[in-house]
Symmetry: C3
Subunit: 133 residues, 3 copies
């Protein structure tokens, strides 16, 4: 899956596109593996609504602030140590089961990618669908 | 797997039930995928003893406190923004290998579900077992 | 995979060894599952450079400090509650896709194990490679 983000913890809802790929496989039951090839983005699930989007972004500002001192920023011009730290904490992989050709997500649960980098990026998330008819 | 929780970061030990399901498959080697369909619960592993259960709950109070201001709580009556945030941080999926029909957990390591919601819930955790005889 | 660590959040780069195992399978596409059997270590991905290694270690000191009071430490002599908490937060499992017999990691992204225990340890990380030729 390819898409563009503005970075700075922009959160992209990937659910509909994952559903589209799943439909294209004609598989009935199995699981979907998602992976972000990159060190400044992460994958998780959430209720994708404006309030929680802002709350989650604020949580990352609290856990790994941008403005504190980082060793990485002393030797790297991009000054995105906070992006790397947040990405390592949230994780690069995610696995979602499906049954009756339907993702087994909770009612309010969406699959999201968070771009922690501090600039606009073109991103790829790798999708693997494993299952049977 | 179906079970009830009291919410408020109650931690449920799922290890024995996962072992029971694994036994029922007669599979020898492979992996178990677990997934929580829902936006206010998470899966991880830990030494399931009373001290660490309390310590982990205290850690979540520190990382994503209940009583601070959240945008979600301004527009949603359930006031459980902290539950959502904690769930997104810990993650909804977990994968455990097995060999010789035995989960490859560490000696003190258990599979746990944490219910971050702020009320009692009936929960389902989806279990997929993939392997060979 | 077997290796030794000094503990105290030492971060070990597992990428080259995972690549070696993958090469030995002659598989073309699929995914690699990694799992740490143990309650005081975690797996994630990162740009493995000295600055970020120090920054990530510092982040864990901030999120789950060693010197605060933990219930676990009141009843266990090893005084490693912080090790357990950090391990549960970062997670025990990780899944990485491969295509054309090549891990689909980002350019700066490495697979790492973090040993949160407070003493030297001999460690095993379980590697499963699932795929097709």
């Amino acid at each position: 899956m390819h898409f563009s983000t503005q970075g700075n913890s922009e959160i992209t809802n990937l659910t509909d596109e994952v559903k589209k790929y799943l439909k294209g496989t004609n598989l009935n039951s199995g699981f979907v593996n998602l992976f972000i090839p990159g060190a400044t983005g992460g994958l998780t699930t959430m209720e994708y609504e404006p309030g929680l989007i802002g709350d989650l972004q604020q949580t990352f500002r609290r856990i790994a602030p941008e403005e504190i001192e980082y060793l990485h920023n002393a030797t790297h011009k991009d000054k995105n140590a906070h992006s790397h730290i947040r990405a390592s904490l949230i994780g690069a992989s995610l696995s979602i089961p499906f049954e009756n050709a339907t993702l087994q997500l909770g009612k309010w649960q969406q699959i999201v990618f968070i771009d922690f980098d501090n600039r606009p990026r073109k991103r790829e998330v790798i999708l693997q669908i494993i299952g049977e008819r």
